[in-house]
């Protein structure tokens, strides 16, 4: 696969935006500035970026409770995201969603969903909508290996398959569903074998490798756009941090986290870019400084934004009528 220099720069910047957003979110969360909880996307950047890099801006995605990466990879703004994490009126969801539900339907993100597997039916429905309207759009649906054990996954991917819907089912196989390991939850080594049950193609992919994810996604997107139906992409990226911030991860075997960190997709891609002389130090530095500036301005925006008026808790339920 040959990607242009600019495409590489775009992918690296997208991954770095997620990494720096998450590191900063964890930092301010530990300062008590973010209510609720944070499920960090650190370590899984290559998946959202690799897949979204293969989509058109008009295509749709759905995200998860661990969804900041999906938002950023689809092109959402950091400032309104931080504002949402803070519960501010300027947040994407006007403070009604928070970390697990940040969404921007305008940029094609049809909701981050806090119910595990909750977005799979919605994504499949959006793909059905696109097929019905013949608008040529493709949907990428992100969820974890844990979600693939819910009935919602089975029902939706089955419907997606029988109706040949234009959708990518992207499993972020991060090895742990809170404290239960994948091997204790699924009687398969290669999760892509599940695709056979639905008569669709499946692939096992190194989820730390943005180029591998991107290549697999491009081929699945092309298949979807040709009207040939869904693909199951299983991207393996063992979790680098806890299920949520503050999770001591006492359930993980010795050396497991260390091993995951060794494969950290960011330094790996950075070295690849330098070693293959795709981008030079100066260009990387440019990108890195740009992202830092964005993070700084975004935090300032969130800090300075007002909270919603309390009575706004009653708004936005129905189009017609109050409750």
């Amino acid at each position: 696969m040959t990607l242009s220099k600019e495409k590489h720069a775009e992918l690296y910047e997208a991954m770095l935006r997620i990494r720096r957003f998450e590191e900063t979110a964890i930092d301010v969360f530990s300062q008590g500035k973010i209510p609720g909880f944070i499920h960090s996307y650190i370590g899984e950047e290559a998946i959202a970026v690799g897949v979204c890099g293969a989509l058109e801006p008009t295509d749709y995605i759905t995200g998860t409770h661990r969804g900041h990466g999906h938002c950023l990879a689809k092109g959402m703004r950091m400032d309104r995201m931080f504002a949402e994490l803070y519960g501010k009126a300027t947040g994407y969801n006007k403070g009604k969603g928070g970390s697990m539900h940040i969404s921007d339907f305008g940029c094609g993100l049809l909701g981050c969903n806090g119910i595990v597997a909750g977005g799979i039916g919605l994504a499949t429905g959006a793909a059905w909508g696109s097929q019905y309207k013949k608008d040529g759009r493709v949907v990428a649906c992100f969820f974890g290996d844990g979600a693939s054990n819910r009935g919602s996954f089975h029902e939706a991917i089955n419907m997606g398959s029988i109706w040949s819907l234009p959708i990518l089912y992207v499993v972020e196989a991060n090895s742990w569903a809170i404290s239960l390991s994948t091997s204790a939850a699924i009687n398969l080594t290669h999760l892509s074998e599940r695709a056979k049950s639905y008569g669709i193609p499946g692939a096992d992919i190194d989820g730390y490798d943005v180029l591998a994810v991107h290549e697999a996604a491009e081929s699945a997107v092309a298949r979807a756009r040709r009207g040939e139906g869904p693909t199951l992409l299983v991207c393996y990226a063992p979790r680098i941090r806890g299920h949520e911030e503050g999770d001591p991860q006492t359930y993980r075997p010795k050396g497991d986290i260390k091993k995951a960190k060794k494969n950290d997709p960011l330094p790996r891609y950075r070295s690849f870019l330098l070693d293959n002389e795709i981008l030079d130090q100066a260009r990387l530095k440019d990108i890195e400084e740009g992202v830092e500036a964005e993070v700084k301005a975004a935090l300032k925006f969130a800090d300075e934004s007002p909270y919603p008026a309390p009575e706004e808790a009653l708004d936005d339920l129905f189009v017609e009528g109050v409750s």
């Binding site: 909701g111 909750g118 039916g121 059905w128 309207k133 089955n158 936005d316």
Partner: protein
Amino acid sequence: MREITFSEAINEGLREEMARNPMVVTLGEDIAAIGGNFGVTKGLLEEFGPERVKDTPISEDAIVGLSLGASMVGVRPVAEIMFSTFLGCCMEELSNQVGAIRYMNGGQITTPVVIRTCNSLGRSGAAQHSGRNEAWIVHTPGIKVVIPSTPYDAKGLLKTAIRADDPVVFFEHALLYYGAKGPVPEEDYTIPFGVADVKREGDDVTIVAYQMMVHKALEAAEILAEEGIEVEVVDPRTLVPLDVGTIVGSVKKTNRLIIASEECGRAGVNGEIAFRVIEEAFDYLDAPIARVTAANVPVPFSPPLEEFMMPKVEDIVEVAKRLMG
């Protein structure tokens, strides 16, 4: 005016809305090829084709999930869940997705999805095919709940539901499909949500009843009239929104209230209606509020057992007499 069945009224309403708006599609188990388990969607496949009238696998969770997802991108799905007991198979989608998605996203989107389903107490369906689960949905913020009793109301309210930009769960009743026949105009009409219909006027006792119980309340009213007790039957027609004004107005006139529903009495719609009346018309009540509901057991199979646990015309008569002292 011509008379048609409840089933024909639903069929017409759906057909006319599909003809009116190409974004309206319908899906569900057995709704296309055979026209529905109860024959309600007959002829739609032939008229609109398989892209707009879709048989689905037995996947209630996906039927609701896909409908919601499609509604987010401009399609207006009308989904059928064959029996309201099967709402249990898709309650996650209803409570956490359908009811919440617009609100938790700060109103960014509209979700014009209609879920048609069917109550069915009184058919020896036993515990798993004799639903009256409207309280589940009423208790879920973000979903409107429609529950008509006559063909006229059914058609007009279904059209409103399909044209609405908010999610609606629309409860039909298996015994009304062919058991209720009534006048329905041939020209287009709609009925707004949140407007109760007084099905019979009277000064002595208000009976708030919906769906099947409207018919039982009207029967009871005939019997009571012979004994000089004039009953007013108020049919809210929609439970969300609820026309509290009409109910309270009636209670202020009659000073007595019975709520009749087929649900288990405990923690149901009947209790909600009672509370709203207590809030607004407590001082007008001359007797304690009474309810006629089913017993708090799963529905039994054998006809004498089911008959015993169901709310009956005689129960309404007896309670009304008691309230009149």
